[in-house]
Symmetry: C3
Subunit: 336 residues, 3 copies
């Protein structure tokens, strides 16, 4: 009981965080028909800046880190990506009025990871003083790529079987490289490489770090506007997508929280790391995932998976998921 | 006499301010045919950043303010917006070679408010140490919306009468909501709401505030280039538009200075507040106003009102108006 | 021998500089087929920001400087621009499979100057603590304009002679003004003018200076991606362009180093100034030069000169030239 009260208080505080405020503000502006727009060039540049910042920091810290500690969380990240897609395949994809390949594509998008949501979680955690391993954001590709690969493979196996062609085989390697070439993952990995191999401390401290929170506030505004704009698309597809978009982020996050807790107990994975793993699981890919899925499962209607993810999945992950997992960590690990 | 000397000295100093320097520099570059351009996406983003900064600051301070103090200045702001349009209607619009609806549209644009000019005034005042009530920038919509609404209503009443249709009525509410949806006012109001309802101090102090002056310098450059580019359009329309564009900002600002002085004496409105009110009156809308007027008075030729405003009104308001009203305040309120 | 060892050590350290890291990172991403892109609007704005920063600083310092000191270096800058074009005309342009007017255009582009390379050199030198005269970056137009003018005049004289028209004369003044109107030179000269005539210290210290290194890192990334993208164009033209693109920057830089050394001995030109002069000579124009040449020598295929410059000349100037000239200066002037 006290747990729930404690959690609700923390949750109410989160609603005053500017990160969430800008997200909601963007949705409200869009709902009121405002003509305010953040140009696409700015949006793309902000995403680049945030992921480069996260990557550089990760790369600089990984130099000092004991990478053995990363093993179990990385394995769990892969496992979570796989679980999310299988869960989506055997729940969402078998519901009425849902075309199976579109259900699988949606599950793939929710298994993949959002750099913006990750950045939002890091900003909130930094403000709360909740620390995590510097390599934790680098768990991103370990969850992202397996989820996209598995979803595309499963959808193609399904489509091939239905057609009765037994001959065609789905090639996995092109899907992996296509994921790695996505703009978000490219920026993150380049940042990690530069953080590892060069000495970017000055440019990090004078540019990428100080601009992080401010650029994130603009990005949240864009994502709020985008979420509202996609609501209409969501209305056009089966209602089960809306249910999935609202519920799945929290279910996925809680599964990750459980696995993260195991890593905490066995190898000392930090509470902040557990929260980040949960946020990665709760997030759905907003930038790199959609084009990869569109290329990999061309017969699936993007309105289904982008609608569920952008209009519901991302706002739920940011506005409910982040405070939920932070609150949970504060209560669970304080009492432990 | 000493007053004039004192004022001229201050005015000469203002010419060395970088705000004005960038404005003039932009016009000179454009006049020399430079190919330098600030991309449109950057321009839009800078306007967003400046108005968000002004809004956030206003919102954070309004929390602590006694809003009763805002009553009289807000009332005066509405009054000034109305006076400017009526003045334009019964002087500009009756001059030879001016189509009445275009004259009214021009008066509406000059009654509406420019966020960039407001930002420029705030930067100059901050550098001069001239303080103002934190809610003073929030007077913006109180002058902007009534001016646009009145101009559109008057133009339509005029056009309807001329056609002899007595039946059509002009709807006011759509004009109000259309103004509120404009990108400049949306950004300002969103900033105020976020400043009031969330705790954006960190993001304000680390991002919006430090970038303000620099982004403003870039915006001034764009406005200088834009002013020169519009001179040709101004040449094509009646010469009275040029006279109006040069004289009206100062007349409007002086009217506002007088009303602001009354508010100073009766309710203690600060000298800096009086200057801001004058600058709001002197400015003409550069971003949100033109599309609203174009939609509201489709038969008016935009070259007339945009030419007069962008090529003359805005440079006059910034380069002459701001130092004039600051100098006036320093002399009037020092002797008071 | 010790000289070479010393130089190699310094060169190895340079490879860890983030400036170079971002350049190489961009090329690697492009080679791997990444979809990461920095929008064109951002790229243009970054170039503007860097040149405005360099100009403002130069302008503010020129106020205090003894301009007599600038005379000899400025004369040498003109001389270097002329030497580079003549050298190109009588080596590159007479090689097999090279159309003479394209060879001259390429020589003109390599004689012209790159603002990005200049900015990169200044960042590396600031990090190394290698100082230079504040007016040294203002040598830019003294080398840039004569090179472009001479190349265009020589190409047109050649083409006219070939056609047998003796009557047509090439007009020099339009080429000069066209160069001055280019976006890079416009931004630099505007910055110098504003630095000289206004008091931009606050806006410089709060905006242009702190963002310099970070924006440069993004620009280097773009230039790395661009270099890789142009490799294909370079493959399509005569192989001598590749040889020229790789060798010319270092030869030009060494010529400038020699002349700079003379200025050091005779008028006390600083070692850092000598390095900047060498970098200006090594660089080839990436922004303003190509459109000027395209307009001035319309029959020359841009693939030839842009390929050689962007794919090879610029990376060689930044990755090899800058550390080479800095290392050379540290060794030469330490022993002097």
């Amino acid at each position: 009981m006290e747990f729930i009260l404690d959690f609700l208080t923390r949750f109410a505080t989160q609603l005053q965080s500017p990160t969430l405020g800008f997200l909601i503000g963007g949705a409200v502006l869009a709902a009121l028909g405002s003509r305010l727009e953040v140009p696409d060039a700015i949006y793309k540049f902000i995403v680049f800046m945030l992921l480069m910042k996260i990557g550089l920091k990760g790369g600089m810290k990984i130099r000092e880190a004991d990478l053995g500690d990363m093993l179990l969380p990385a394995l769990f990240a892969v496992l979570i990506g796989v679980i999310i897609v299988l869960l989506g395949r055997y729940t969402l994809a078998i519901l009425p009025k849902i075309r199976t390949e579109e259900g699988i594509a949606t599950a793939g998008l929710f298994g993949a990871v959002s750099g913006s949501t990750l950045a939002a979680a890091m900003a909130v955690m930094d403000a709360e003083g909740l620390t995590y391993e510097a390599w934790a954001p680098a768990l991103y590709p370990f969850m992202d790529i397996p989820a996209l690969v598995l979803a595309i493979v499963m959808a193609n196996v399904y489509l091939t079987k239905r057609k009765g062609d037994a001959g065609t085989r789905v090639k996995i390697w092109p899907i992996v490289t296509d994921s790695l070439r996505g703009s978000a993952l490219s920026a993150l990995l380049l940042g990690i490489a530069l953080g590892l191999l060069t000495r970017p401390d000055f440019v990090y401290d004078s540019f990428y770090e100080p601009l992080f929170r401010g650029l994130l506030s603009v990005l949240m505004l864009v994502m709020g506007m985008e979420a509202y704009a996609r609501v209409n698309e969501l209305r056009k597809v089966a209602h089960w997508y809306a249910v999935y978009g609202a519920v799945a982020p929290l279910v996925h996050g809680l599964i990750a929280f459980g696995l993260g807790y195991i890593a905490h107990v066995t190898t000392g994975f930090s509470p902040g790391g557990v929260v980040l793993l949960s946020v990665l699981a709760a997030s759905s890919s907003d930038i790199s995932g959609p084009p990869t899925l569109r290329a990999g499962i061309p017969s699936a209607n993007p309105s289904a998976y982008i609608g569920a993810s952008t209009a519901l999945g991302t706002p739920v992950a940011i506005a409910i998921g982040i405070p939920l997992f932070i609150g949970l960590a504060q209560v669970v690990f304080a009492s432990a």
